[in-house]
């Protein structure tokens, strides 16, 4: 090796090799993504030039009314309506419409693009008439028998005419047609007898007419049934709802109704597969552990196991609701003092806490406390954290609390609750 070679290497330049760019963080010490060098604003800046473009776009998509259009409008609307339309349009900036406006695409959208010529029973108020709209005198009295019969006859005739717009069939009738006609007459008579026009008599026929006019009624007319594909598919009939025999049995056992059962908070906390080894082979099934609570001092834990997943889950839910036991709560928010419970190798320590502390516990105990309606609780699970045992230990601890009254009774002491004495008894 010659001596000058290293010198040449030292002094020569290698323009082909790129220099390594200096990195701020050559090696990442954590898994979170590094922040970009320059912080981007949360919203794009709008420059004055862009604003001009926006103005132009808004002008294009939401143009102002031209003179010909205003003329057309004037033909259809009164000047006051046109003024209202203009005021409404000027209240909304077209640029806002362009940047923030969105068109609804959901099936329940209201048809906003409307010329407001028709009364929509869903969006609009039903048309109303005032007493002043009735022309002539508004005197009335209770109709006597003769007047009532006359009115009934007239209204029944009107109703019949509505049922047979082509005239009541006459002459020889087949028995089927005869029966139909008689039915129609009966219906018409019944409707007429129920009509308020037959009860009252007025010298002004307009006043009598107003009795049957729905626009004068205080009762709002029924909303129309929405008929589209989505509404048809989402509609449920009471007959379609299947009756679960297990649920029925449970309701009978508890003496509850379905409404009360629906108010129970149920949550499946543990699901895992288990296998039974037989000489024929392995039988796989699923194990479920569910808690149930009414969030007002009742808590239950239930287990279920089945080859069918849904069956096992249902079993556990029913067992949890059936196993609900009362949880004594201090001031309806926390427990009475500290609790300890050991199940297997799992030990659970539950501590009562002051108001506003919250549920600072691990997730399983948190769910149970929520279902039971506890609001302030701290917990530790110092030993094994087997999920099933944690739940069982917590449940046992919460339901087997010793109350101060009972402790005092056991020790032969007298206990007085002074919470009702302080602050005029307003503290619980």
């Amino acid at each position: 090796m010659s001596v000058c070679r290293p010198a040449r290497c030292l002094f020569s330049k290698t323009p082909s090799l790129p220099k390594p760019t200096p990195l701020h963080h050559p090696r990442s010490f954590h898994t979170t993504l590094p922040r970009p060098a320059r912080r981007r604003p949360h919203y794009p800046n709008i420059k004055a030039s862009d604003l001009a473009l926006l103005n132009a776009a808004a002008e294009e998509s939401y143009p102002k009314y031209s003179t010909s259009e205003t003329d057309l409008l004037r033909k259809k609307y009164t000047p006051s309506q046109i003024a209202a339309i203009k005021a409404a349009e000027s209240a909304i900036d077209p640029r806002d419409l362009l940047t923030q406006g969105q068109r609804r695409t959901d099936p329940w959208q209201l048809s906003y693009e409307d010329d407001l010529a028709e009364v929509d029973p869903v969006t609009d108020h039903a048309p109303k008439l005032k007493p002043s709209d009735i022309k002539g005198p508004k005197d009335f009295r209770e109709a006597n028998m003769v007047e009532r019969d006359e009115a009934i006859a007239q209204i029944a005739n009107e109703n019949l005419a509505k049922m047979y717009p082509n005239g009541v069939p006459e002459g020889q009738l087949s028995p089927e047609e005869h029966r139909k006609l008689e039915e129609a007459i009966e219906v018409a008579m019944a409707q007429a007898a129920m009509d308020p026009r037959t009860v009252y008599y007025s010298s002004n026929p307009k006043a009598v007419e107003s009795l049957a006019d729905p626009r004068h009624s205080v009762v709002l007319p029924d909303l129309p049934r929405i008929e589209n594909r989505v509404a048809r598919q989402t509609r449920r009939l009471s007959t379609e709802e299947e009756e679960d025999p297990r649920q029925k049995q449970l309701l009978k056992y508890l003496g509850w109704d379905k409404e009360k059962l629906r108010s129970i908070r149920v949550k499946t906390l543990i699901v895992h597969g288990v296998t039974n080894q037989t000489r024929m082979g392995k039988i796989r099934s699923l194990y479920y552990l569910t808690i149930a609570g009414n969030q007002d001092g009742l808590l239950g834990v239930g287990e279920g196991k089945s080859v069918e997943p849904e069956e096992g889950r249902k079993q556990s839910v029913m067992a949890a609701i059936r196993n609900m036991r009362p949880v004594p709560r201090y001031e309806n928010r926390t427990i009475y003092g500290d609790l300890e419970k050991k199940v297997g190798a799992t030990k659970v320590l539950l501590c009562s806490r002051p108001p506003g502390f919250g549920l600072r516990t691990q997730h399983l105990i948190f769910e149970m406390a929520r279902a039971a309606g506890l609001q302030d609780l701290a917990a530790r699970v110092p030993r094994s954290r087997n999920k099933m045992n944690v739940i069982k230990a917590t449940w046992e601890a919460l339901t087997s609390q010793k109350l101060p009254d009972e402790i005092a009774r056991a020790r032969g002491k007298k206990l007085v609750d002074v919470r009702k004495v302080y602050y005029g008894g307003s503290v619980y």
Binding site: K402, A410, R411
Partner: protein
């Protein structure tokens, strides 16, 4: 004042109540006697009796007054209930039956017999734990005791957080419950907690 013996007593009482014993015995010492009387005052024990190696005669087997006398006593009490607390030398209820328990003259053979209590099939005294240890005794003043009775930690002693928990303190006024110490503003060496 051996805390080692007290530790033995604590675990013995826990074991005895777990085994649902009615009566149990512990070695006699002034500390034990005062502490057990404190426990009885707090309602953890039904009876504290000095005796020998055999348990003392239970109350039902002791000599009882005649039924007629009992009836007379009840009538007197009904008329004049203040006679339940007789004044010196005048007892209209008749002479009180006192059961004398034999105590061995040899102090080594004496035992302290304790009656344990149960309520609703549950022992009243379930846990009894030493706070001061033979190797590390803890003295607390009344401020610290006040914090502890309000379920806060003070002087490296955990607060009384269990429902109905009691703590016994040995002071120059005898063995007292922690709450009584706070009331009388005296501190002392904490012995044990019971719940």
């Amino acid at each position: 004042m051996s805390l080692v013996n007290l530790a033995h007593v604590c675990s013995h009482l826990q074991n005895a109540s777990k085994a649902r014993l009615g009566v149990t015995s512990i070695p006699v010492s002034k500390l034990h006697v005062r502490l057990m009387l404190g426990l009885q005052k707090e309602g953890f024990l039904s009876s504290v009796t000095l005796g020998g190696t055999t348990p003392p005669k239970p109350f039902i087997l002791q000599k009882q007054p005649h039924p007629e006398e009992l009836e007379k006593m009840a009538d007197t009490l009904k008329e004049e209930p203040w006679n339940a607390y007789p004044v010196e030398r005048q007892n209209p209820l008749g002479k009180e039956k006192v059961h004398v328990e034999h105590v061995p003259s040899n102090p080594a053979r004496r035992r302290l017999w304790l009656g344990l209590k149960y309520w609703n099939n549950e022992p009243v005294l379930r846990n009894m734990k030493l706070i001061s240890k033979p190797t590390r005794r803890i003295w607390l003043n009344s401020e610290d005791l006040g914090k502890i009775t309000r379920s806060r930690e003070a002087g490296f002693v955990k607060g009384l957080t269990h429902p109905g928990e009691c703590m016994f303190v040995t002071t120059d006024r005898g063995i007292l419950e922690a709450r009584e110490c706070v009331e009388r503003r005296i501190g002392g060496m904490v012995l044990c907690r019971v719940w």
